[in-house]
């Protein structure tokens, strides 16, 4: 046997050696100090392990340590139970209130509006200083607005010059603005011209009563009904529907709206206020221009010496009169709209049979309907909860990080003290 074979033999427990193997091992060990020491080591190690006894104190000490650890764990678990309950209630309150807020206010339904400071002017635009108007005894230079007026005679009798208006437009805005500002004095404040339009949609189960009430409401507030449409037969036939277009004095419009909202039940309401100030004064300015032009033409007509001049002047005067009538009509239309607001009212009959049908539903159907409604509400609430949790996530992360840091600090302090 050589050392390698001896090493292999040592891998087996001695109890598994055969008699031949044992003799061979003993013979080799007698000749090889290294292998003899290896054999002695192995036998001694086995004996050391067999002789190892657990000290009596050891068993008692680890049992004591385990019990102490268990008691410490129980103390920690049951300490301050009210703290855990309070934390749970606080967390439930936060989530509940947050979900309710998200549900009620429809969080996330609209994108946030960013103020664009670059495009919004710091101050309202004042057009009065943008234009200069001069009356000059010189050839007229007309912009696009002036092109609507008949061309003034150029030249003519010696010394006669046509009246002209020079517009110096210092902004890129339309000529209509230039015209409207022609009469504006920078020091005067223009009166705002606002056209209000209101739209109401009403539902009713007492169609006849509410229809009569609406019909009389316009006159009650000094207004009138410009248009009225009805449809439906009522009773067991198609549901009835009526629409009104009313003109109500603007100063009494709010009172009218309050009264109309009290008829039936309000399904929808909208109001718009169009600022037509610029357009109004634009037309007003053009009217003034045409009037001045007509006045000048009438003066020229008296001084005309030839028939051809007279014909041309009359033609120009006729055109001016046409535009005067046109602009006057427009202004009157604006005045009417401003003085009397337009109100659109729809009155829709609700079936009275619907209420009766609900009482005829079976218990099962009612339960199903209630379950369906409850399910829809639950879905809406869950959606609101999800929105709230996502919205509050940055705060939760920050709070968790803070708690973690505090616990680490406390833990390290505890270790140092130990």
């Amino acid at each position: 046997m050589n050392c390698t074979a001896f090493d292999l033999l040592l891998e087996k427990p001695e109890t598994e050696w055969t008699a031949e193997e044992r003799q061979a091992a003993e013979r080799h060990a007698a000749q090889c100090p290294d292998c003899a020491m290896r054999l002695a080591m192995r036998r001694e190690m086995r004996a050391m392990e067999a002789d190892t006894a657990v000290p009596d104190t050891f068993t008692a000490s680890w049992k004591y340590a385990i019990h102490a650890e268990a008691e410490k764990h129980m103390e920690k678990k049951h300490s301050y139970p009210w703290k855990r309950a309070l934390a749970g209630i606080a967390a439930a309150l936060v989530v509940g209130i947050g979900t309710l807020a998200a549900y009620t206010n429809d969080w996330g339904a609209t994108a946030p509006i960013k103020a664009n400071r670059e495009t919004e002017p710091a101050e309202p635009v004042v057009y009065a200083d943008d234009y200069e108007v001069e009356m000059a005894e010189e050839e007229a230079v007309y912009d696009s607005a002036a092109e609507m007026a008949a061309p003034m005679l150029a030249g003519g009798a010696a010394g006669e010059k046509s009246a002209s208006y020079t517009f110096t437009n210092t902004t890129a805005s339309s000529a209509s603005k230039a015209t409207s500002m022609a009469k504006a004095d920078a020091g005067d404040a223009r009166e705002s011209k606002i056209v209000r339009t209101v739209s109401l949609s009403l539902r009713t189960r007492a169609y006849d009563t509410d229809y009569e009430a609406l019909s009389g409401l316009a006159a009650q507030y000094g207004g009138r009904i410009d248009n009225r449409n009805t449809s439906g037969e009522g009773g067991s036939g198609a549901l009835r529907w009526a629409s009104f277009i009313m003109r109500i004095p603007t100063e009494r419009l709010d009172d009218f709206i309050a009264a109309a909202k009290g008829i039936g039940s309000l399904a929808s309401f909208s109001e718009s206020a169009d600022d037509v100030t610029d357009s109004y004064y634009d037309i007003d300015g053009r009217l003034a221009t045409q009037r001045a032009k007509l006045q000048r033409l009438n003066q020229l007509m008296e001084q005309a010496e030839s028939v051809s001049d007279l014909v041309e002047i009359e033609s120009a005067a006729s055109d001016a009169q046409y535009w005067i009538d046109y602009y006057t009509g427009q202004l009157q239309g604006y005045d009417s709209s401003i003085r009397n607001s337009r109100v659109y009212v729809d009155l829709q009959e609700i079936s009275t049979a619907t209420a009766a049908e609900s009482t005829d539903l079976s218990l099962g159907q009612r339960m199903i309907n209630a379950l369906h409604a409850s399910g829809e509400t639950a879905v809406r609430v869950l959606r609101a909860l999800a929105v709230f949790l996502v919205a509050a996530l940055p705060w939760f992360i920050a709070l968790a990080a803070l708690i973690l840091i505090v616990r680490l600090i406390v833990k390290r302090k505890g270790k140092k003290e130990n």
């Binding site: 086995r46 657990v54 068993t59 340590a65």
Partner: protein, 194 residues
């Protein structure tokens, strides 16, 4: 032999009962690793406490014996890292052992055996923790290479090579001391001073 801590109804064995069955094994490993009884008791108790804290999460992923061995091995390695210098001779002296006295005593079978045992322990104290561990688990506790690999986290090949080096080192130390009896004491005292 793998031991399941779960009974037929998949209930875990009470922790104390589990430790009672493996108490000697844990203590023996710690004794060989730490080299003295006091440190071995401390280390074994620490290992048992660690096992107690981790017991709730133990779902029988490995057999209980391997699991406990692993905890005990890690506890010993941590303790050895914390320990500075070779105090094994000092600790032996605290227990009443003095190598010089043993050398002066007359040879007897028991004395020779005790002498060899203590020299083996002293020689093992010279080994790094990983070699000490594999030697303890293989030559003392007769675990298989696979079990040792699971406990120490090494591969089987690594276990075998570490074991071979450990055996050679211990053998050479013992042979050196055998041939130079006084050197054994002086070397250890010198090492102690370092």
């Amino acid at each position: 032999m793998a031991v399941s801590i779960f009974n037929r109804r998949r209930e875990k064995e009470p922790f104390e009962a589990l430790i009672m069955r493996h108490e000697r094994m844990i203590y023996s490993l710690c004794l060989r690793m730490m080299g003295n009884r006091q440190d071995a008791e401390d280390c074994a108790q620490e290992a048992i406490l660690s096992a107690y804290r981790a017991y709730d999460g133990f779902r029988g992923q490995a057999d209980a014996k391997t699991w406990l061995y692993r905890i005990a091995y890690n506890a010993c390695v941590d303790a050895l890292r914390r320990r500075k210098g070779d105090t094994s001779l000092e600790a032996l002296r605290e227990t009443g052992f003095d190598p010089a006295e043993t050398r002066m005593a007359g040879p007897s079978e028991t004395a020779e055996r005790n002498d060899l045992r203590r020299q083996i322990q002293l020689a093992m104290d010279q080994l790094p923790p990983d070699q000490r561990a594999v030697m303890t688990l293989r030559d003392f506790q007769q675990l298989s290479y696979q079990e040792i690999a699971q406990i120490t986290g090494m591969g089987e090949g690594t276990v075998k090579s570490r074991l071979s080096r450990a055996r050679d080192k211990v053998k050479n130390i013992l042979l050196h001391w055998e041939q130079n009896p006084s050197a054994s004491v002086k070397e250890n005292e010198g090492r102690q001073k370092e």
